[in-house]
Symmetry: C2
Subunit: 337 residues, 2 copies
């Protein structure tokens, strides 16, 4: 079954050779009269380049693999959406894969994408080793890491300044007189967790606050652990007066716990959450938040990989460290002595 016309058809229609037509399609010079002939034929036959055939020849698929940890949260999808947008405008399509925070799946899907011969890879890594990544870049497939840094990986990264994001958030609490501030972190061994915790520790030091290990809780960045850990914090003998939750899902979980227990915010507890502006508005009282620049992350990653695909290896490996914003709303109160 005929699914579209080929260069051959154009050749027949115009009486020119395939080579001439191919040359024109790829920006070469042909006689004006032939150019007109070709262009008309292309219109009439509705000719479209067969990217598959071209890919076979050029060893390019014009496809970028995008691998993320989770397709069902705003952070990822917003990034994906922006990446996709920019790449599409530049003629690239994207294959989006999701490894569901599962290290095994992560490895598998990297293989899947490579097998699909993607020209480049944008990924939000989990446990992926630097060795694995370096093998890919050595095959001349540019890799851009998002959100999480991998030590020893020779590739570009687009990160967020997690340390200062955390520092600034906790600082806002300290400024308002809070002395016992809980923090709900992600998994201990993940880059963002470490950075966000560092920020917490550093600001505590800077303000000469005592560091109480019992106020630091480690979860798994999932809703349920936000719920559980907030409850744990509330059950401490010496309860915190404020808490900083370091990702979106756990913030959700925390709020659910708070609602269920009818905790008065900010009367009993001040809270600063993470990442979702819309959520901040529908929660009562309005939630204070650390907002990550998701649009910028996506755009930066996309533009970066486009540069690499063009062969521009300037400043390699480049590490962007984008700034977050903090919005203090009514969920944080000032402690009056």
């Amino acid at each position: 079954m005929k699914i579209g016309s080929t260069i051959k058809d154009i050749a027949k229609q115009t009486g020119l050779s395939i080579a001439t037509i191919s040359k024109h399609i790829n920006g070469g010079n042909v006689l004006d009269e032939n150019r007109i002939l070709i262009e008309r034929a292309i219109k009439e036959l509705d000719y479209k380049v067969n990217e598959i055939a071209r890919g076979l020849k050029t060893n390019k698929t014009m496809t970028i693999g995008v691998l993320i940890s989770n397709l069902e949260n705003i952070f990822s999808t917003s990034i994906v959406s922006n990446v996709e947008n920019i790449l599409l405008k530049n003629g690239y399509s994207t294959i989006i894969c999701n490894y569901n925070e599962d290290a095994l799946l992560e490895k598998e899907k990297i293989g899947f994408l490579l097998n699909k011969m993607v020209d480049g890879l944008i990924m939000l890594p989990l446990e992926c080793s630097s060795g694995q990544i370096n093998k890919i870049t050595r095959d001349n497939i540019p890799v851009v890491l998002i959100d999480r840094h991998i030590k020893g990986a020779e590739c570009d990264s687009v990160l967020v300044d997690n340390l200062n994001a955390s520092y600034n958030a906790v600082e806002q609490l300290i400024i308002r007189g809070h002395k016992r501030i809980g923090i709900i972190c992600g998994p201990k061994d993940i880059y963002t967790t470490r950075e966000r915790l560092k920020g917490y520790i550093r600001v505590c030091e800077d303000y000469a606050m005592e560091f109480d290990q019992s106020l630091v809780k480690f979860g798994d960045y999932q809703l349920q652990s936000g719920y559980d850990l907030l409850c744990e914090l509330l059950e401490l003998d010496d309860k915190p007066t404020a808490v900083f939750v370091t990702n979106y899902e756990m913030t959700l979980g925390s709020i659910i716990a708070i609602n269920e227990r009818n905790i008065d915010i900010p009367g009993e507890l001040s809270i600063i959450g993470f990442d979702n502006l819309q959520m901040a508005k529908i929660v009562k009282p309005p939630l204070s938040l650390v907002v990550q620049p998701m649009k910028a992350i996506g755009e930066t990653a996309a533009k970066l990989i486009l540069r690499r695909l063009k062969g521009d290896m300037g400043n390699f490996p480049e590490i962007y460290r984008l700034k977050t914003e903090i919005q203090i709303k009514e969920s944080v109160k000032k402690i009056v002595l």
Copy 2:
């Protein structure tokens, strides 16, 4: 630069011909001793089929286009995530496109996907004409429509029983004694809007309630219009005692309006929203919701297109009409006379 081994390399290593090896790869019969030889060589050389070359030959890309209206809401991403999951398991990858509720972009991206030679198309349509779709299916590319029906389009559809979803939601309000019930709809000309409105009208008829046009508001399924329309409803001389908001974004907008104006839910106003379970839990009081079976939608669409891709045209065109669930929580109160 060599990026992987080819059948040729296997041929050299084993001393067999390319044809034999290809046959084995594609499930043909070869002598046991040769099979072993081939398999070992494949392992040793880490041979992977070049899908591009195969695609050129077979006219298949093992890629499905997924076109949706918006990548930044749970409804779409959840569907995409499930679709992707199932297709991937069956060896297909997906190219996900997003037309941002823009009819022009919609058309463009359909073209883009077709140009990428997708083997099939799963789409959540906007204004796409039946003619356009029929042209695609006539080229033997199966199309599965999601969420919105298109009249005259000869293709499978996976819909939601919007009419009864709406009927049941409003019925819950009527049962609880509400007489004046507002409804915030989407754009007038969209399938889901019409169906959801039909449900509202039908249940009003069934319960012999007077139909008041001023209680019916049309928006654009975006957050802002939810906000605006809820305000409009509240400004009516004869205010509704309950309101049904017919999609997720507008539900968000409505809640923001309610919070800003400090409307007492459900004291002053009962509300039933749409689609996001998590949201229902973090809102205070817990929000009543119509919940769409997003997982089932994605799975059904994916399985359906897989069937079609296998050439099974049984029951074509098939229309699934999945059922919604309704969860009544504290945001709805009983009117006591």
